[in-house]
C-alpha cells in the first residue's frame, strides 16, 4: 500500500468525493487562490495547507469556490447550501476563526434539523486546522474541539493519522449531519499507509491502537503520535497499555473506553486542549461515573495548561503535552 501524507490523504478524499457526487462543493479562503491576482495563476494556493490542491482545475469555479475573508458568510453559505441540497465542505483555515463564525456553526447549522422538527438535513462539513507547535501564537494555534463537542447537533472528528483522515473525511462528506473536522497542522506532512480508493470509517468507533494490561491511555489527534511512542517504550519495561484513539469526540465511543478501564483499572487521557471542560475532563468524568468500581487509581489527564497558546519556542514547547508528561502520568497512575 502506498505511503501518503495526512495532507494528501485528505486531498484524495476530496477528489474522490467530488468525482463521485456532483453536489459536493468546496468553499473557503484561498481554497484555490490566485483569483484577482496579477500572475494569472488561478491555483496559486490550493489551500493554505495544500489540502484542496488540484480541485479547481478539475471541478471548476462553481464547485471550488474562493471566498472573501468572511468566515460567517463562508460557514453560513455552507449551511444554506446544505439545506438547499448540496454537500458543502467549507474550509475555515484556522480553527481559531470559529470565533468569528460561531453563530453560523452553533445557532444555525447545528440546530436546523431539530428546530425544523426533523424535516431537513444539513450535510455540511467544516474543516478546521488546529493545534500548537508552529509558533503561530494564541489566535492561530488553539485546540478547540471541546467547544463544538459540547453542541448538540454537531459531529466532531479529530483524526490522528493519514489512513483515518481519508476514511473519516469521506464519511463526513457522505454524512447527513453537520460535521466539524479538525486537522492538526503538525500532522499534515506525516505519512502512513493509505489505499488509493474510497473507504469510510464510521463515527463513534474508537481505534484500539495498542493492547495492554496496566493502563488505559486515551489520546486525541496529534497526542496519539506521542502516546504511541511512550507506550512502546514502556512496554519494554513491562508496563503495557491499551491505547485508544476515539477518532470522533462526538459521538464518543464510551463503550470501548469503559471496557478497557474495566480491564486495566487505570486511565490516562491525553488532550492538547486547555483542561477545563475539555474532552479529557469529560472522559475522566464518564469513567468515574460508569466504571468507578473498576478503578485502581484516580484518573489522570495530560493537557495543555489553563493559558492561551504562548508564542516563544521554549514556552510553546512546554505548553504542548508531549512524551515526557505522558510518560510521567502513566508512571504516576501506576503508583496509586
Amino acid at each position: 500500500m502506498a505511503q501518503k501524507s495526512f495532507r494528501d490523504a485528505l486531498n484524495e478524499a476530496l477528489h474522490l468525493e467530488m468525482e463521485r457526487d456532483p453536489s459536493v462543493i468546496v468553499l473557503g479562503e484561498d481554497v484555490s487562490g490566485g483569483a484577482g491576482g496579477t500572475s494569472g495563476n488561478r491555483e496559486a494556493s490550493g489551500g493554505i495547507f495544500g489540502v484542496t490542491k488540484g480541485l479547481l482545475p478539475k471541478f471548476g469555479e462553481h464547485r471550488v469556490i474562493d471566498t472573501p475573508i468572511s468566515e460567517s458568510a463562508i460557514i453560513g453559505a455552507a449551511g444554506g447550501a446544505a439545506l438547499a441540497g448540496l454537500r458543502p465542505v467549507a474550509e475555515l483555515m484556522f480553527a481559531d476563526f470559529v470565533g468569528v463564525s460561531m453563530d453560523q456553526i452553533f445557532n444555525q447549522m447545528a440546530k436546523f434539523r431539530y428546530m425544523f422538527g426533523g424535516k431537513t438535513r444539513c450535510p455540511a462539513v467544516v474543516r478546521l486546522a488546529m493545534g500548537a507547535g508552529m509558533n503561530m501564537g494564541a489566535q492561530h494555534s488553539q485546540t478547540i474541539y471541546a467547544l463544538l463537542t459540547a453542541v448538540p447537533g454537531l459531529k466532531v472528528v479529530v483524526p490522528s493519522n493519514a489512513y483515518d483522515a481519508k476514511g473519516l473525511l469521506i464519511q463526513a462528506i457522505r454524512d447527513d449531519d453537520p460535521v466539524m473536522f479538525f486537522e492538526h497542522k503538525a500532522l499534515y506532512p506525516r505519512k502512513g499507509e493509505v489505499p488509493d480508493g474510497a473507504y469510510t470509517i464510521p463515527f463513534g468507533e474508537a481505534n484500539l491502537l495498542r493492547e495492554g494490561e496496566h493502563v488505559t491511555v486515551v489520546a486525541i489527534g496529534r497526542m496519539v503520535v506521542f502516546a504511541e511512542k511512550v507506550i512502546d517504550a514502556l512496554a519494554k519495561e513491562g508496563i503495557t497499555c491499551d491505547l485508544i484513539d476515539p477518532r470522533t469526540t462526538s459521538p464518543l465511543d464510551e463503550e470501548t473506553i469503559l471496557e478497557s478501564v474495566e480491564n486495566t483499572g487505570r486511565l490516562v487521557v491525553v488532550d492538547e486542549s486547555n483542561p477545563r471542560c475539555s474532552v479529557a475532563s469529560e472522559i475522566c468524568a464518564v469513567v468515574a461515573a460508569k466504571a468507578f468500581r473498576s478503578l485502581k487509581a484516580a484518573p489522570r489527564s495530560v493537557t495543555a495548561p489553563h493559558s492561551p497558546v504562548p508564542f516563544a519556542r521554549e514556552l510553546e514547547r512546554a505548553y504542548v503535552p508531549g512524551p515526557t508528561r505522558i510518560e510521567a502520568a502513566i508512571r504516576d497512575v501506576m503508583q496509586d
Binding site: A73, N107, F116, P251
Partner: protein, 324 residues
C-alpha cells in the same frame, strides 16, 4: 415588462396578505390569554412585502426569514394550520413543536426557516443561491431582513460574497422604522440602506412597502435580472409594523397615535382594495368573500391548535441528528 396580474392572481395576492393579517391579529388576541408560550413578533402591517416578493416565487426558489417570520412563511406557502399548531407548541406543528414562532420552516416549500438571530439568515441565503446558480435552473434565493439586521456584519459579508460569486440572491430589507426599541433613523448610520447595498456593487431599489404593487413590480425587476444571471440585488421597502417588537412590548419609543395614523394611511390591505376596485379589476364583493373565508380559516386553525396535544416528552432527544 411584467404582464398585469390577472384577477385570479390579484385575488390570490389579497388572500395571502389577508391571511397573514388575520393570523397576526388573532395571535395578538390569543397571546394576551397566556396560552401561547414564548416570544412572538408580529408581522401585521408588512404583508405587502412578503406577498409582493413571494408571488414571484415557486417551491424551488428559496427564502430565509427572520424572527418576524409568520408573514414570510404564509407567503411562501407554509401550511397555516401547521404554523398555528407550531406556535402553540403542539406535536403536529410544522416543526413538531420543537421550533416555535421563531423557527418555522418548510424546506419542501423552499422556506429555509425563520431565524431568531438578527442577521443570521443572509449568509444562508447566499449558500442557497450557490445551489441555484450551480443547478443553472434560474431559481433565486431571497434573504428577508429588517433595518436592524442590515447593521449586522453578517449581512455585509453576505452581500459582498453574493456580489463576488455573482449568485442569484435578493436581499429584501424591510425598514419598519424600528430595530427592536430603537429607531432606524438613529441606528442606520447612512439612513440609506439601498445606497449601502449599491456600494457593495449590486443593483438596489426602494419601494413603498405598504403598496403591494410597488413591491411586486420593483422586486420583480430585480428577481428577473437575478434569474437571468445578473447576480444579487437589494430591495429596500419602507414599511411599519402595527405592533411592538414582540407581543407585550409597551412601545414606549413610539409617539402616541403613531400606529393609529399608520393604520389609516399605511395599511396595505386598504391600499390594495382601493386600487383594484377603483381600476375595476376586482369588486368589493370579491374581496369581502376572501375576508370571510380567511376569518373562517384562522378560526379553524386556532380551534385546532387549542385542542391539539403537546409533543411527547420522548421527543426531546429525537431529531438532534439523523444518525448518531
Amino acid at each position: 415588462m411584467a404582464q398585469p396580474l390577472s384577477a385570479e392572481r390579484l385575488k390570490r395576492a389579497y388572500r395571502q396578505m389577508k391571511t397573514i393579517r388575520e393570523f397576526e391579529e388573532r395571535l395578538h388576541v390569543e397571546i394576551a390569554t397566556g396560552e401561547i408560550p414564548g416570544f412572538t413578533h408580529l408581522y401585521a402591517g408588512q404583508e405587502a412585502v412578503a406577498v409582493g416578493v413571494c408571488e414571484h416565487l415557486d417551491d424551488a426558489d428559496y427564502i430565509v426569514s427572520t424572527h418576524r417570520g409568520h408573514g414570510h412563511c404564509i407567503a411562501k406557502g407554509c401550511d397555516v394550520d401547521g404554523m398555528m399548531l407550531e406556535i402553540y407548541g403542539r406535536a403536529d406543528g410544522l416543526c413538531k413543536g420543537k421550533g416555535g414562532s421563531m423557527h418555522i420552516a418548510d424546506v419542501e416549500k423552499g422556506m429555509l426557516g425563520a431565524n431568531a438571530i438578527v442577521g443570521g439568515g443572509p449568509p444562508l441565503a447566499v449558500g442557497a443561491a450557490i445551489a441555484c446558480r450551480n443547478r443553472g435552473n434560474g431559481k433565486v434565493s431571497i434573504a428577508f431582513g429588517g433595518d436592524g439586521s442590515c447593521n449586522q456584519g453578517t449581512v455585509f459579508e453576505a452581500m459582498n460574497m453574493a456580489v463576488v460569486l455573482k449568485v442569484p440572491a435578493i436581499f429584501v430589507i424591510e425598514d419598519n422604522g424600528y430595530s427592536e426599541h430603537t429607531g432606524a433613523s438613529y441606528a442606520v448610520g447612512s439612513k440609506d440602506i439601498a445606497g449601502r447595498s449599491r456600494a457593495f456593487g449590486m443593483a438596489a431599489e426602494k419601494c413603498d412597502g405598504a403598496d403591494f404593487f410597488s413591491v411586486y413590480e420593483t422586486v420583480g425587476r430585480l428577481i428577473d435580472s437575478a434569474r437571468r444571471g445578473a447576480g444579487p440585488a437589494t430591495l429596500e421597502a419602507k414599511i411599519t409594523r402595527f405592533y411592538g417588537h414582540f407581543e407585550g412590548d409597551p412601545q414606549l419609543y413610539r409617539a402616541r397615535d403613531e400606529v393609529k395614523q399608520q393604520r389609516a394611511t399605511m395599511d396595505c390591505l386598504k391600499n390594495f382594495r382601493a386600487r383594484v376596485t377603483q381600476e375595476g379589476r376586482l369588486t368589493d364583493a370579491d374581496l369581502d368573500a376572501i375576508d370571510t373565508a380567511v376569518l373562517a380559516q384562522i378560526d379553524a386553525a386556532v380551534a385546532k391548535a387549542k385542542a391539539a396535544p403537546p409533543p411527547a416528552e420522548s421527543e426531546i432527544t429525537t431529531d438532534v441528528y439523523i444518525s448518531y
